[in-house]
Symmetry: C2
Subunit: 345 residues, 2 copies
């Protein structure tokens, strides 16, 4: 492949597809001038849209795929019936070496199932996890799993920790990222058995393992990487999103509550707009399936073009940083982490 | 008992005890002039403090108890060694009918264990749960369990739902509270098996069962009662608290980021102070152990006098509304909810 990064886009995935996908690619192309796109979807639908985007047109190739995975399709049904879907074909482009990564805003369960079947997990990893980064009091942190694995064993959690640590180093550029296990208290006796077992194993690993953290530690930025089973991670992330929305709405009402407050808003508007941008969920769009033998990024289904462009940026960053190659090197043999631990100990 | 409500206070529980406890009682006494207090703790410590609080002195009786449960004590150790502790004696006052309810800011695990042993669960309830209310876009909602039960069966979840529904009616005054089960998606196939089983049972109950809700529905106020296992509920609550703190801190930085923003703050200050009061965690202090044969309220360990006064207010409200009697009536026989369902169906 050339020095340019090629991203396969499921142009039909998401509430606002294909328009938001193509517009997002158009924005991303401006940010990353050396990115090329493969657009998967019905040519008859995509070509007229693409025609109007001069910048993107030069950097994108439509790959005609007639079928679309529905938002309500069960993963098993999508696997059976979606063999010619834009989602499946976009993922296959990564396996075949035609693209460095795939981005989709489509059905999460179907995307996860297809990505697992097509790309397969890296050696030494039993299950991939969904990871994303988000703002904290100390900068940015990563959390995984965000919902791909509802029930997790201690080995799953340990693998998530190692993958998350690597993700923080590679994508966020943290030098010695600290890792915490999400629990309901910091004491060793608390929480599910798998959590205590995972903590015991991680204490022997050559990573900066902090121990247990609680829900409030997520936004506090107590650690760089939060490890959770997919159920708790999903609850924590969505609970945080809901609260941020609540506080923003209360703030909006506050500035409308009196004439003086309205005047205050006018003075503070430029600063408040910066705050809004800082908390904009579109800035943190793009959950990564880590542990697969290929880059796959899930954009929020309701995202607009700007959010989709962020998700593309995540895939581009990972490709540019050789994320998969580095991950594969660390997980070469199932026993690799233990060997590292033995060396470190 | 007379028409006045008597509250037993563990005067030695919490980071700021006994000072914050007594000051909190002093504030609560102003709000509820017919409340009487039993203060459990070493007389030598409490008497000099009480002497300086003219209003509280008239309404409070010190019950000399020399021992204190430590913040780090395991529940089992507290049960064995804490037989003469302020926490234990305060709970016993409720069982003996000397007080209508107990409030403590001490060690949560110890308080839960002691309250279970001393007060026992109501007939038909296997495990008590921790419940609390919090602000949402639509008013206030209740969530339970917040950490008392890490692993829950479907029967536990169903009982939490029924207790939470009653709590919303009794304490929040909701007329026909809606109830949702916290999950990672609204589809029926998602989440742990116990959740799906609990949902199936609740669909046959004569309560306003909404189905599954997600983390973002908590702050959105999608339902009046959120039911969760103690692990997820704790993660959701603390994740929300951490996020509210993050946004508040970002907002503080915003108003300091420029001269204009600072001027804007001056204009909007009265309105912003109202917002701060609206989001003040002290307004939502006081988690209730529901399902016990007696009123027991846990104040946050780090709470100050104002927060402690709120927790006392929760206990007073529950006593005044006959919460335990109403709960006991609905759970009279283990089969009661099913019978109600049969009648409704």
């Amino acid at each position: 492949m050339s020095t340019s990064v090629i991203i396969a886009l499921d142009a039909m995935g998401g509430d606002n597809a294909p328009r938001a996908v193509l517009r997002g690619a158009n924005i991303a192309r401006k940010r990353f001038p050396n990115v090329q796109f493969l657009l998967f979807g019905p040519e008859g639908t995509l070509a007229p849209l693409l025609k109007r985007m001069a910048r993107l047109r030069k950097a994108a190739t439509i790959v005609d795929t007639p079928d679309v995975v529905g938002d309500q399709d069960k993963p098993s049904a999508a696997l059976r019936a979606g063999r010619n879907s834009s989602m499946r074909k976009a993922i296959e482009a990564v396996r075949e070496g035609k693209a460095h990564g795939v981005v989709s805003a489509g059905n999460t369960g179907a995307l996860m199932a297809m990505a697992k079947v097509v790309l397969r997990t890296l050696p030494g990893i039993d299950r991939p996890a969904m990871a994303s980064f988000f703002p904290t009091l100390r900068g940015e942190s990563v959390m995984l799993d965000l919902g791909a694995n509802i029930d997790c064993t201690e080995d799953n959690l340990v693998q998530f920790a190692v993958m998350g640590e690597m993700f923080a180093r590679t994508v966020l550029g943290s030098l010695q990222p600290t890792v915490g296990l999400l629990n309901v208290g910091s004491e060793e006796m608390k929480g599910h058995e798998e959590l205590r077992a995972a903590a015991a194993i991680l204490r022997g690993y050559p990573i900066n393992f902090h121990g247990f953290v609680e829900g409030n530690d997520i936004a506090a930025g107590t650690v760089d990487v939060i490890v959770a089973d997919g159920f708790s991670g999903n609850v924590a992330l969505k609970s945080a999103e809901g609260t941020a929305r609540l506080v923003s709405e209360f703030l909006r009402q506050t500035f409308k509550s009196s004439v003086l407050a309205g005047v205050g808003y006018l003075f503070a508007r430029p600063a408040l707009q910066k705050l809004r941008a800082r908390l904009d969920p579109r800035r943190y769009n793009g959950a990564v399936f880590v542990g697969l033998n290929g880059i796959a990024v899930k954009s929020h289904g309701g995202s607009d073009a700007l959010g989709f462009a962020t998700a593309i940026g995540v895939a581009v960053d990972m490709a540019a940083n050789g994320f998969i190659e580095r991950m594969a090197a660390e997980f070469k043999h199932p026993a690799a982490p233990q060997q590292r631990a033995a060396v470190a100990g």
